[in-house]
Amino acid sequence: MKPGKFSYEAPRTLDEALHSLATWRDNAKIVAGGQSLAPMLNMRLARPDHLIDINRLTELGRIAVDGERLTIGAMARHAQLGRDAQVKRHAPMLAHAAETIGHYAIRQRGTIGGSLAHADPAAQLPLATLALDAEFELHAAAGTRTLGAGAFFLSVFTTALEPDELLAAIHVPVARPREGWGFRLFNRRAGDFAIVSVAATLACGEGATIERLRLAIAGIGPVPVRVEELVPPEDAATVTTGWSARIAAAVATAVEIEDNEKIPIVFRRELVERLTRDTLDEALERAS
């Protein structure tokens, strides 16, 4: 369990890191918290020639609110997300999701940028950022672009990041007033990656009308998916008796679930139904 040989640098500025990345491209890996990359290096599942350590780029650890959006630097640690007052206020689902990752010691080192760029299909932060319509700021020596979470995750461990690009910041639209959220996952052991996880937000208007419902699921395919289009139209408009159970049944019946030798589809479909219902109930309770 020792990694292969690599060279190492720890640049002090983002420009320096980007220029190095532009030179090394696919032969380098960016190391942030190292809680996913280091196991892969140690098991030699990843064999980069070079590591670019961005832990000295303290500018990437900042969390700030700018009008209607919360901006989180890629180096913000999971533990920091979980206790930051601005994250808890403006993106409470994200704060909660971060607190469910791995174990206490893992959360002290792991970063939001690292988790998103790693793109494990069962991970919490890809799901939460997808559900929250987050946008990712990708920096390269040649320029900067912004991409929505839905366009960022391409497949298992695969993102839209080009070889010379680094995920520098995450922008999350702030929660609406009285917007509720739910986040549920199922795993067999505490700290393991979830088998299935579900995230939702619900903003209610006058009476029982729904202003906005967002619903996303992870663990059923190579990337987390948004599934609002599977919600029956009347349940997308109004909350009535049996609302969450009807949506959960409709989604679980219709959603595409990728085959997987380890965990049967029938079990994951049951998990989708149960977790969707509980997540929606949780969001409704917080919204009212």
Binding site: K2, F6, S7, A38, L51, H103
Partner: protein
């Protein structure tokens, strides 16, 4: 840039260590083999078992998921610092009294992790203690006595804290 061994200066338990290491050398190996601090144990070497947990700038971290070269300029604290003056730490003393270890292999990681965790969670419930302990694998005890010890340590820390006020 080179993959070859190069000098690395580390601050461990307040002391300075000058070692020579390849960039790929795990901090856990640097601590044990180059610094001679063998209290940090090595189990899985991929972050799961928790026995190599050290404090990195005061915060628990897996030493097997950090490379030695990354630790330059940071304060490393290992299990050796916890009873340096011969007096056991609160968690160590409670583990001793509650028989919270059998083979003891996982114990350094548990002590380091839980001393930090109790600082953030002064009044934990048993369920919270059990959840926090999921990051440290113990294959002997069944955890019962470890949980009892951590709850005892939490209570003692509260008494000590109130006495200091």
């Amino acid at each position: 840039m080179s993959t070859a061994s190069a000098p690395v200066t580390l601050t461990v338990n307040g002391g300075t260590y000058r070692v020579v290491a390849e960039p790929r050398r795990l901090l856990s190996d640097v601590l044990r083999e180059d610094c001679g601090l063998t209290g940090t144990h090595v189990g899985c070497e991929h972050g799961v078992c928790g026995t190599c947990t050290i404090l990195f700038d005061g915060v628990p971290a897996r030493a097997c998921l950090i490379y030695g070269v990354q630790a330059e300029g940071h304060e490393i604290t290992t299990i050796e610092a916890f009873a340096a003056d011969g007096e056991l730490s609160v968690v160590q003393q409670a583990l001793h009294e509650e028989h919270g270890l059998q083979c003891g292999f996982c114990t350094p990681g548990i002590v380091v992790t839980m001393e930090a965790w109790l600082g953030e969670h002064p009044e934990p419930t048993e369920a919270e203690v059990r959840d926090a302990l999921t990051g440290n694998l113990c294959r002997c005890t069944g955890y019962h006595n470890i949980v009892a010890a951590i709850l005892k340590a939490a209570a003692r820390r509260r008494v000590e804290a109130s006495g200091e006020r």
